[in-house]
C-alpha cells in the first residue's frame, strides 16, 4: 500500500508537469487576444505595445518562456505575475481560495445529505408517490443549469432584488473570518443552487445502486439471519450502495475546489472560478496558467484519495 501511494504521488508530479506544458502551449502558443495590446489600453501605439511585450517577456522564444516559468515555479513556487492585477498569481490564488473552499465544501455537505437521504428513501419506497415525485424533481435538478437556477434563486430570494428577500444576493460575499453571520447569509443561495444538480444526480445514483444491492444474495442472508430490516438496509445495503458514490464525490469535490466558475460568476463570489473566468476574458495568461494548474492539482489529488479510500471501503481491493 505504501509503495502504491508513493508511486501514485510520483504520478501526481508527472501529470502536473504535463498539464503545465499543455496549458502553456494552448494559451501562449495558440492565437488569442494579444495580452500586450490589451494592457496598452486605448491610446496604444505599436511602440508601447512592443515595450509591454518585452516587459512581460512575451518576445522571448516560447521554449525559453516555458523554461523561465517552470524554473520560477519549482525553485520559488512562483506562478508569475498577473497582467491584469499586476500582483503575484500565487497571492491572488491564496486570496481567492477561501471563498471557493467555503462554497464547495458547504455545497458538498448539503448535496450529500440531500442526495443520500432522498436516494435511500426513494429506493426503499420504490414506485411510491414519494419515489416518483423526488425522482421527477431530481431529473429537473440535473437538467436545470446553474446560471438558470442561480438567476431564479436571486430573483426569488435575494435580499436586494428578490420577491421574498431572505438571503444575501449577488456580490454579498464576506469572508468567514471577517463576519461569520454575513458569510453564512451570503452563501446560502449559492450553496443551494450549486448543490441542487449534484444532490439530484447523487440521489438517482444511490437509488439505483441501493435497489440493485437490495436484490443481492447477501441481503437475503442478512434477512435470513433474523436481523431487523433497519439493520439489513443500513448496515448491509447502504454500506454497499454508497461505495460508488465515494468515487463520484471525491472527483466532484476535487473539480469544484478548482473553482465553481458558473456559480461564482452568477453570485459574483470572489473565488478561483471567478478569477479564472476574468483571466480568460482578459487574456491574463499567468493567471490562467495558475488556476488551471491548481484545478488539475485538486483533481489529481482527489483521484488519489478516492483510490486509497476504496481500499478501505472494499476489502477485495488491494493495491500492489
Amino acid at each position: 500500500m505504501a509503495r502504491y501511494i508513493a508511486r501514485r504521488l510520483l504520478w501526481v508530479v508527472v501529470l502536473l508537469f504535463l498539464v503545465s506544458l499543455l496549458t502553456f502551449l494552448i494559451f501562449y502558443a495558440l492565437p488569442s487576444a494579444d495580452p500586450a495590446a490589451l494592457r496598452a489600453g486605448r491610446s496604444a501605439n505599436p511602440k508601447l505595445i512592443e515595450r509591454i511585450r518585452t516587459d512581460l517577456g512575451l518576445d522571448k522564444p516560447l521554449l525559453e518562456q516555458y523554461w523561465l516559468y517552470m524554473k520560477a515555479l519549482i525553485t520559488k513556487f512562483d506562478l508569475g505575475t498577473s497582467y491584469q492585477y499586476n500582483a503575484p498569481v500565487r497571492q491572488l490564488i491564496f486570496d481567492r481560495l477561501p471563498a471557493t473552499i467555503s462554497l464547495a465544501v458547504g455545497a458538498a455537505i448539503l448535496w450529500l445529505v440531500m442526495g443520500v437521504g432522498v436516494g435511500i428513501i426513494a429506493a426503499l419506497r420504490r414506485r411510491s408517490v414519494l419515489d416518483r415525485t423526488t425522482m421527477g424533481l431530481a431529473l429537473f435538478g440535473i437538467s436545470a443549469p446553474v446560471y438558470f437556477l442561480g438567476l431564479v434563486a436571486l430573483y426569488l430570494f435575494a435580499d436586494d432584488i428578490g420577491v421574498i428577500p431572505l438571503f444575501g444576493g449577488s456580490n454579498s460575499y464576506k469572508p468567514l473570518t471577517d463576519d461569520p453571520a454575513a458569510w453564512l447569509n451570503s452563501l446560502i443561495l449559492p450553496w443551494i443552487v450549486l448543490a441542487v444538480s449534484f444532490a439530484a444526480f447523487y440521489s438517482r445514483l444511490l437509488r439505483g445502486n441501493l435497489i440493485e444491492v437490495m436484490g443481492e444474495d447477501y441481503i437475503r442472508t442478512a434477512r435470513a439471519k433474523g436481523l431487523s430490516e433497519r439493520r439489513v438496509v443500513f448496515r448491509h445495503g447502504v454500506r454497499s450502495a454508497i461505495t460508488p458514490i465515494v468515487t463520484v464525490f471525491g472527483l466532484d469535490l476535487g473539480i469544484l475546489l478548482g473553482g465553481a466558475i458558473l456559480t461564482e460568476t452568477v453570485f459574483n463570489i470572489p473565488g478561483i472560478g471567478r478569477l479564472s473566468y476574468d483571466a480568460i476574458t482578459r487574456s491574463d495568461l499567468p493567471t490562467i496558467q495558475g488556476t488551471v494548474l491548481l484545478g488539475a492539482f485538486f483533481i489529481i489529488v482527489a483521484n488519489l484519495l478516492v483510490d486509497i479510500a476504496y481500499a478501505f471501503l472494499d476489502p477485495r481491493v488491494r493495491y500492489e
Partner: protein, 357 residues
Amino acid sequence: MTALLEVEDLRVRFDTEDGVVHAVDGISYTVEVGRTLGIVGESGSGKSVEALTIMGLTRGRRTAIEGAARLEGRDLLAASDDELRAVRGNDVAMIFQDPLSSLHPYFRVGKQIVEAVQAHRDVSKAAARDRTVELLGLVGIPDPARRVDDFPHEFSGGMRQRAMIAMALANDPKLLIADEPTTALDVTVQAQILELMSRLQRELGMAIIIISHDLGVVAETADEIAVMYAGRIVERAPTATLFSAPRHPYTWGLLRSIPRLDVPREADLVPIAGRPPSLIQRPSGCAFHPRCPYALPSHAVTVPPLEAIEGDPAHHVACLLPEAVRAAAEARLRAGATPQEARAAAGVDSLEPEPAS
C-alpha cells in the same frame, strides 16, 4: 415421531408485469424432528420459493400467500414480521446456493456470524466471537481462531459454504433449510458439505430440508423425498422407496436423466422432453401432461390429487394412471424399454379410446 414442521396446502402467487405467477400451487408435507426431507425439482418448480416463503422472505406487496406452515404447531405464515424475524436464524435457519454471493463482501466472515449470534442472543461481543470460533471449528474450518478475521473472498468455495453453515447453526436451529447447498461447488467439495450436514444433524439433532435439482444430492442425505413439478408435489416417498419403486412418470424421467452406477454404462441418459412449464399459464389438468410419454386425452382435463398408493401409506403420487398400469410401465422401463415401448406394454392406450376425430 413428532412433527416439527407441517406445511398444509401452501400457495404462493406473485403478481408480475407478465401476469400472475403461480410459483407454489398447493403443497403439503411434514418434517419430523431430526429427520431430513429432500425436495427435488427442475428450476422453476417452486421449490426455492416454497422454502423462502416458510422463512417469510417472499413477503411483499405483490405476493399472495395462502395455507399454513406450522412450526411446532405455530403458523409461521400468520406470524407478524417481527415474530418471524425472531424465528429466522433462530428456530429455522437457511443456507443458499452460492456461498460467495451470499456472504457480504465487505465484512469479515467472523463478524457476519457474530451478527447472527447477537441477532437472537443478548451476549457480549467477546462471547459472540468465542461462539463464532467454536462454530467455525465445528464445521471444519482449519485454524478457526485465525480464519475468523478473514474476508469471504479469502475463503475457498467449500469453506464459504461451511461458514454459511456455521452462521446458520449460530443459534441451534431446530430446522435447517438448505437451498441447493452444493450446486455452486466442485463435486469433491459437494460430498464434503453433504457429509458435514449429515454429521451435524447427528450431533445436533436438527431437522433438515434439502432442496436440489439433483436427485443424487438428495438421495445421500434425505429420509424422505418430495418431487416437485410446476409448483406441486407429484410424488412423495421414503428415499429408498422412491428409488426402488418410483410411481410418477416425471420421477422416472428424472431418474433416467442422471447417471447411475446400478445400470449398465451403455444405457443412454434420457433427458425429459420439452421445457419446464410456464407458471403463469400452467398446462391444464396434470401439469406434466404435455411432456409425459404416458399422457391420455383426459389428463389435459383432470387435475390429479396427491394420494397414497394402495398398500403403502407413506408413498404418495399425483398421477391419473391406475397404479397397476404405472407399476407395469415402471417394470418395463427398468428392464431397459423406451418410454414408448413401456407405454404400449403397460396397455396405456387401452385405457381410453382415441377420441373420434
